[in-house]
Subunit: 132 residues, 3 copies
Amino acid sequence: MPVLMIKVRSREREQFIDITAEVARRLRETGAREGICHLYVQHTTAALTINESADPDVARDMLHVLRRLAPRHDADYRHGEGNTDAHVKSSLMGTSLSIPFTDGELLLGRWQGIFLCEFDGPRERQVVMMIR
Amino acid sequence: MPVLMIKVRSREREQFIDITAEVARRLRETGAREGICHLYVQHTTAALTINESADPDVARDMLHVLRRLAPRHDADYRHGEGNTDAHVKSSLMGTSLSIPFTDGELLLGRWQGIFLCEFDGPRERQVVMMIR
Amino acid sequence: MPVLMIKVRSREREQFIDITAEVARRLRETGAREGICHLYVQHTTAALTINESADPDVARDMLHVLRRLAPRHDADYRHGEGNTDAHVKSSLMGTSLSIPFTDGELLLGRWQGIFLCEFDGPRERQVVMMIR
């Protein structure tokens, strides 16, 4: 099974980007029928999560809550690059996902989508995809 | 290896349901000796987590903290279904778990249990289990 | 593939301990070329996360934010052992990681390190490592 690299371009500092269609397409191209689709983001100020993709306000509300949990500015932060909030959000959401698939299709629930979470963009991001 | 579906019935809006015994039983039935037990919840207002199962107050306290992190009502929420808090909690806890096993037994720590986290019940939920 | 156990000794109540070099060394010793490196922590008051390892202030700032999200003392906590905060932080960070590798090397991003998160130390902790 080849190691696949998915490139994602973010356009804002904070943004949830739906990569479901891209992951599903790449999975079909491998011809694999059943197994686990592992996704891994190679960054410390971005993340991966599964959540509702139908209503974009869900992602918007999630970013709103995350900004309150890890504010951008805090007199107690010591990390010099000014993006501590993005590092915290990355670990809260997580950097890896493991999604089962059968008959070549991801076993996502009806409302589920796969999101690349950008917390310190805009940037070019990279997600590793490996089938097992 | 078959794909297994575990159905879980929640009884309250927010509830941690211990599914450890069910997962362990299903694993034994497969006859698999060593590998990874992948669990995946197909919902955007539920989650999976590992935490202490001995004292039910741990799960109760976790729900208490999560309610403060993502309050049910917030004038800034835009998602129209009124369950933004449940979506946020789902991504904070996560939708997939990968648990190693040997000799047909999950390598859980002494105090660890596997929980289906319900954040918008009561409902019937579904967890996909795949052995690799 | 053998099941590997990585022992980690924490020195403070709360501490992020970089275990990247140890995981990379163990991976090389297996001789495996390509696959997924699964890590699993067998505790309910510790966790695993990936984040920046270059500047130690990132881990320090993350602990600062986590302490505010789950304060050590709260009149509403019911769990009698006084470490509810540690249980919450464990589930927020997560107990398992799945990291792809090729040519025997972990596909970590340039700034990424693997951390054992101690939230109720000092203690001896154990991480299960399994290659698939």
